[in-house]
């Protein structure tokens, strides 16, 4: 299995698109900080808009967005880096880039037919899934670091400072988001093996990250009336992509625990299903 992992890591670091996706994520984070600065200026000059932001600020946005602003940032106080990072992670922009990477990385092995060269070289084909999951974990870590660096650079350039506070809590938050991202990555990997198609898995992955599954909320409530008793019920609350958007620096320990359980269950379930497909499906 170690050989397969080494092979995947070698390919990941050799592939052009790994760096393209990382550069794009970096640029997007940088642009997001710029947009945040622009929005803050706008809210500071338009009190009515700021009031609206205060009223709607607590609403959960399940979609993918850019340049989100917290009302507290418009008071002139320094914006803490952890909050800026958290807001950008919650926007699911990084999740979108992760989807692109996985669809390309795992999908290309199938699309190019390279898998035919290696499928017979491993005793158990599910080992190939482990290699991919580990590559996803490493890529996610690099992407998060790159994103934080880009946000820091943007913060220095557009706000003139980097204000770090609650470092311990921030590390915990990053750890949980890291786990949620890997869990969602395992969903995309499963889609790649299921569809055997880069475009289909890429599109489905982005749509799922953007909260397309909200459309089933009403249907679920109709089927199971007891769901009405749950305040603001949405299936997104129980998915790894939903929890990426939900989990903020201000979240309590119960949300962390829920996110942790969802991430672990997703990872185990999707990893097993991907392994099962690889083991059973003809190549």
């Amino acid at each position: 299995m170690l050989k397969v992992i080494k092979m995947d890591l070698f390919r990941m670091f050799k592939s052009k698109y790994t760096y393209i996706v990382l550069a794009a994520a970096m640029l997007m984070m940088f642009a997001s900080v710029f947009m945040t600065q622009q929005d803050i200026s706008y809210y500071q000059q338009t009190p009515s808009a700021l009031e609206t932001l205060r009223e709607t600020g607590d609403e959960v946005n399940w979609g993918i967005y850019i340049g989100q602003v917290s009302p507290e940032w418009c008071t002139g106080a320094k914006i803490p880096l952890p909050e800026l990072v958290s807001m950008n992670i919650q926007s699911k922009l990084l999740l979108m880039f992760l989807v692109a990477f996985i669809a390309l990385f795992a999908g290309n092995e199938i699309r190019t037919g390279f898998i035919k060269n290696i499928a017979g070289q491993t005793r158990h084909r599910w080992e190939l899934v482990i290699g991919k999951l580990l590559s996803i974990a490493i890529f996610t870590a690099v992407m998060l670091i790159v994103a934080i660096l880009a946000i820091m650079a943007g913060s220095v350039l557009f706000f003139g400072y980097v204000h770090i506070q609650e470092a311990g809590k921030f590390i915990g938050y990053l750890g949980m988001q890291y786990l949620l991202h890997i869990a969602y990555g395992s969903v995309i990997l499963f889609l790649v093996y299921l569809f055997q198609n880069v475009v289909a898995s890429l599109l489905t992955g982005i749509l799922l990250a953007a909260g397309i599954l909200q459309v089933v909320d009403a249907l679920l409530i109709n089927i199971i009336p007891r769901l009405k008793e749950i305040a603001d019920f949405s299936i997104m609350n129980y998915l790894s992509s939903g929890n990426v958007g939900l989990l903020s620096m201000a979240s309590g320990s119960s949300l962390y625990l829920k996110a942790f359980l969802i991430a672990i269950i997703t990872l185990i379930l999707m990893g097993s299903l991907s392994g099962f497909i690889m083991q059973k499906k003809d190549i």
Binding site: F10, R11, G120, Q121, R123, D282, I283
Partner: protein, 304 residues
């Protein structure tokens, strides 16, 4: 172990369609085994099953004496090039080979260079595979299959789309590997003349069924120039041929005798058979090409 690889009633069904139907083949070490069949005959499906990339619906495959799930122990001893070569176009030939070397745990210095040399790609440098010609990709595909020094090379239509020079290069490479390394090769093709230049044994597959398994000598005997006599009762003619001193002949089917010697004596045979009141429909000197033989076995040119 008599055979390196053998299949026993191998069958593959896709829903209601039977792609491979009870095929039993036998391949000895060192053979170049030609798999002949029209497009859609089931060659690729068969090769995928023996390479471990596709699971049989029923039947068994024995490789190196291992069969069933035990075969997984030795499945890595098979190098494959199925359909188009599986290569990353944005990587160099070296890096593509290195990926497979890492996968099989090979880190010997100069190993990749040696493979590139064997397949005639030692001078491609860092050129991306996406910029390779079809022939270069095919040769790199063979190189990929050679990584790990397999005992069996499975090649599916490796000369498809190649120009004559490319075909000759691939042929020379395969013959050299077979001769120098004793590599057993299974090669499928529908370019029969080309296959006949390298194969030592053949299997003809049609509509998922094994039509014929024969050696090069048997095929050559079948296809070489001969006198063909068409008649109702060949058994009556055999004593006559014996009396005339013919030894190299055979009854090809229930209405046909093939004689492979003294090809200028068809008049004498006709006279002698006539003298014995043995009626014949026709007598002619003919030689059947491999294509003609293949088409005869697989039922014509309708979808060849």
């Amino acid at each position: 172990m008599e055979y390196l690889l053998s299949t026993d009633c191998l069958t593959k069904k896709f829903k209601r369609q039977t792609a491979i139907d009870n095929i039993s083949l036998h391949i000895r070490q060192g053979e170049i085994y030609g798999l002949i069949g029209k497009n859609g005959a089931g060659k690729t499906t068969f090769l995928k099953m023996i390479s471990g990339l596709s699971k049989p619906t029923s039947g068994d495959i024995t490789f190196f004496g291992y069969h069933g799930t035990e075969r997984n122990k030795v499945i890595s001893r098979i190098g494959v090039l199925l359909e188009a070569p599986g290569l990353y176009p944005d990587m160099s030939a070296y890096d593509n080979l290195k990926l497979k070397c890492i996968c099989v745990g090979l880190h010997r210095p100069g190993y990749i260079e040696n493979i590139l040399n064997i397949v005639g790609l030692s001078d491609v440098g860092k050129k991306k595979v996406g910029h390779f010609s079809l022939g270069m990709k095919q040769r790199l595909g063979i190189g990929m299959a050679l990584v790990g020094e397999p005992d069996l090379l499975v090649l599916d239509e490796p000369i498809n789309g190649l120009d004559p020079e490319g075909i000759a290069e691939v042929r020379e490479t395969l013959l050299r590997l077979n001769k120098e390394k004793g590599l057993t090769i299974i090669i499928s093709s529908h370019i029969l003349e080309e296959l006949s230049k390298i194969a030592t044994n053949y299997a003809i597959i049609d509509k998922g069924q094994l039509v014929k398994e024969l050696s090069r000598e048997e095929l050559e005997a079948t296809c070489r120039e001969h006198i063909e006599i068409k008649m109702d009762h060949p058994d009556l003619a055999l004593p006559v041929l014996d009396a005339l001193g013919f030894k190299d002949y055979r009854v090809a089917d229930e209405n046909t005798i093939h004689i492979f010697e003294r090809l200028n004596e068809s008049g004498k045979i006709t006279m002698e058979l006539s003298r014995k009141n043995i009626y014949i429909h026709s007598i002619s000197v003919t030689n059947e090409s491999i294509e003609d033989y293949f088409l005869r076995l697989t039922g014509g040119v309708d979808h060849a």
